[in-house]
């Protein structure tokens, strides 16, 4: 184990994968000497050189599209899109190309690539640099969607994503980049599709991911003082989703709160609520609740942005509403 930040853990996952497999390479805007807009790729250019760590032009469509072409022809690209908000510039390459080429070619090819991109509010970056839009990706059959919440998960899921033979959206939360934690050294793989109980509890299940895990954990400590023992479940990957783990936890607690930073309407929380409604209704002793961002763009002024983000206080209030 080694102490490292979430950003360092992502980098360590990429570094070990690149050391182990010469077909893994990295491309994106400013990822080489500059080290990426958030410093996540710092040092990889020095270690692996210009053949394997490349700056691209500001051309999102060909960043993703060329990664798809390289993946089809035997490489394992890691492509970075600087903010998830920029995915609109390359959605066809993900949505119609990466996700569908295997299927529409009758299973005769595969697209093993990782598309890394940061998400999330909390930095005063306003409406076009702060969003969480994971349900854009979970709605597309053919790709997987990964959202780590801790440094160890960040590394293990990165290594799993690179080894996976499918296109994987690997979404990094900007507010977590500097968060430290213990991370296993060397090869470390967290399997995709395996949830993690971040806090055991018996009174209510809170399903959250990415930054919301931290907020839920903090809220749980406050709730414990009030005699409410919350279980915090982190799916870690939304596709594939470990629905058995969610159902098992709800069977234990009888109550479900889903917390996410996406806006509420058509957010992934609706999917989880529907699954539990369909397959775990009998476990519930209260209606399912969702705590999500409101259906608005993300404002700039800190007071407005804070009102947008689901907070620890809002989580506490939502949980208290069950009791």
């Amino acid at each position: 184990m080694k102490q490292m930040t979430y950003a360092e853990a992502i980098r360590d996952g990429m570094r070990v994968a690149m050391q182990n497999d010469p077909n893994v390479y990295l491309q994106g805007e400013d990822v080489a000497q500059f080290g990426g807009c958030f410093g996540v790729t710092a040092g990889l250019y020095d270690e692996f050189g210009p053949k394997r760590v490349m700056n691209t032009p500001i051309s999102e469509a060909v960043i993703v599209g060329s990664a798809v072409g390289a993946a089809l022809t035997g490489l394992r690209p890691i492509a970075e899109i600087m903010f998830v908000d920029f995915m609109g510039c390359c959605m066809d390459e993900l949505f119609n190309q990466a996700a569908k080429l295997r299927y529409m070619n009758g299973g005769k090819c595969q697209v093993p690539m990782v598309l890394r991109t940061p998400c999330g509010a909390g930095q005063g970056a306003a409406a076009q640099h702060s969003q969480s839009v994971e349900s854009w990706f979970t709605h597309i059959p053919g790709i997987k969607t990964v959202m780590p919440s801790t440094p160890a998960d960040a590394k293990g899921l990165m290594m799993a994503a690179i080894k996976d033979n499918n296109p994987v959206m690997y979404i990094e939360h900007k507010q977590l980049l500097t968060v430290p934690g213990d991370v296993p050294e060397g090869e470390y793989v967290v399997p995709l599709g395996k949830a993690d109980i971040k806090r055991e509890g018996s009174d209510i299940t809170i399903v959250a991911w990415a930054w919301m895990i931290q907020k839920a954990l903090a809220a749980a400590e406050e709730l414990a003082k009030k005699g409410i023992n919350a279980e915090i479940l982190d799916p870690r990957t939304l596709v594939p989703l470990d629905k058995d783990a969610i159902l098992k936890s709800v069977a234990k607690t009888g109550k479900l709160l889903i917390v996410h930073e996406e806006v509420k309407t058509s957010g992934f929380g609706g999917e989880i609520a529907a699954i539990v409604g369909e397959e775990g209704f009998d476990y519930l002793d209260a209606p399912i609740k969702r705590l999500a961002a409101p259906d608005t763009p993300i404002p700039f002024a800190p007071v407005l942005e804070n009102a947008f983000i689901p907070s620890e206080e809002k989580i506490i209030k939502a949980v208290e509403g069950f009791f």
């Binding site: 691209t56 051309s59 599209g65 390289a70 119609n96 009758g106």
Partner: protein
């Protein structure tokens, strides 16, 4: 770059096979035997044929929605193609792609793409693999005049030029972006002029002259293979049919259509072959008859092939 008898006759065979395949597809679609959307390559046979004559099996192509000709030219088997058009399990994509996505990935085809202009980034990535692995292979991205207006054209040419990738951007200018004529969708006559904006060579040739296409493509492919980077090659031609089968093409001036029909690339090659005494008219007729017979066998194969089991819906979504 003189083409010998064998090469020219091979091109002739490919062109008449494409012609026979597409002509049959017209009938089969009209008869309701082919479901979905069908975009035909009639009149443009010289382009795929002239380009693929310089490609090896290890080389990659990105095809388009109008992709039957590319597949035949790259070595596709018309029986397996016809089965795909019929949506049968014996087709190239097990019936999951159809006409619009027909491709043999084992022949280095990165898919026939239903999104106009989407093949260029894919081929750019394949060219990156060729350079990364230093395997001597190249990629060719086929696309139309309409696709040359898309952002993917700009982004791909810019990146491929900056990284000096082994790729040829092969524009099949058939005069039409669906119903919109070239002069109505871009303010250039020669699309190859756009190459200068990316610091790469650009050349325009008569796309109905298979020898001219061959020479331009061969030079560009050779340049790519030598590590000198991309070339933009524009082949000027004409789409005989509507954008898709069912589109009567009422937007075309009949005089233009007539003029272009007279420039049919197949009789032009025939004339050349006869002049060079590489074949007699009887031998050329035999080649055509053989292509027709092969087509009939392909249709029989397709018709007698099984349709997919409904459970196939769920396979091939993810790789293991």
């Amino acid at each position: 770059m003189d083409l010998n008898k064998e090469q020219l006759l091979d091109m002739y065979k490919k062109m008449v096979t494409i012609r026979a395949f597409e002509s049959k597809a017209v009938e089969l679609f009209a008869a309701g035997q082919i479901p979905g959307f069908v975009h035909l390559y009639l009149g443009e046979e010289a382009i795929a044929t002239g380009v693929c004559a310089s490609l090896e099996k290890k080389d990659y192509i990105a095809s388009t929605h109008r992709g039957h000709g590319h597949l035949i030219a790259k070595g596709g088997d018309i029986k397996i193609m016809m089965a795909e058009l019929f949506g049968r399990t014996t087709g190239y994509c097990k019936g999951k792609g159809g006409s619009m996505h027909i491709a043999d990935v084992d022949l280095g085809i990165l898919g026939a793409n239903g999104i106009v202009g989407a093949g260029m980034p894919l081929a750019t990535g394949a060219a990156f693999t060729c350079k990364y692995k230093d395997n001597g292979a190249v990629a060719v991205a086929f696309f139309g005049d309409g696709a040359s207006d898309r952002a993917t054209f700009h982004e791909s040419l810019n990146l491929a030029s900056t990284w000096k990738l082994p790729i040829v951007f092969l524009c099949e200018n058939n005069g039409w972006a669906i119903s919109n004529s070239q002069e109505n969708h871009q303010n250039v006559t020669d699309i190859s002029d756009r190459a200068s904006g990316y610091g790469i060579p650009g050349v325009s040739v008569d796309g109905n002259d298979v020898v001219a296409v061959y020479e331009a493509a061969a030079a560009a492919i050779d340049r790519a293979r030598k590590g000198d980077g991309p070339t933009l090659v524009e082949c000027k031609s004409w789409r005989w049919r509507g954008h898709f089968e069912g589109d009567p093409g009422a937007y075309k001036d009949p005089k233009d259509q007539e003029e272009w029909l007279a420039k049919d690339p197949i009789p032009r090659l025939e004339k050349n072959l006869l002049k060079l005494k590489y074949a007699t008219q009887a031998e050329l007729d035999d080649i055509k008859a053989a292509a027709d017979a092969e087509l009939e066998a392909a249709i029989k194969f397709a018709e007698s092939s099984p349709v997919p089991d409904p459970s196939e819906l769920f396979t091939d979504v993810y790789a293991d």
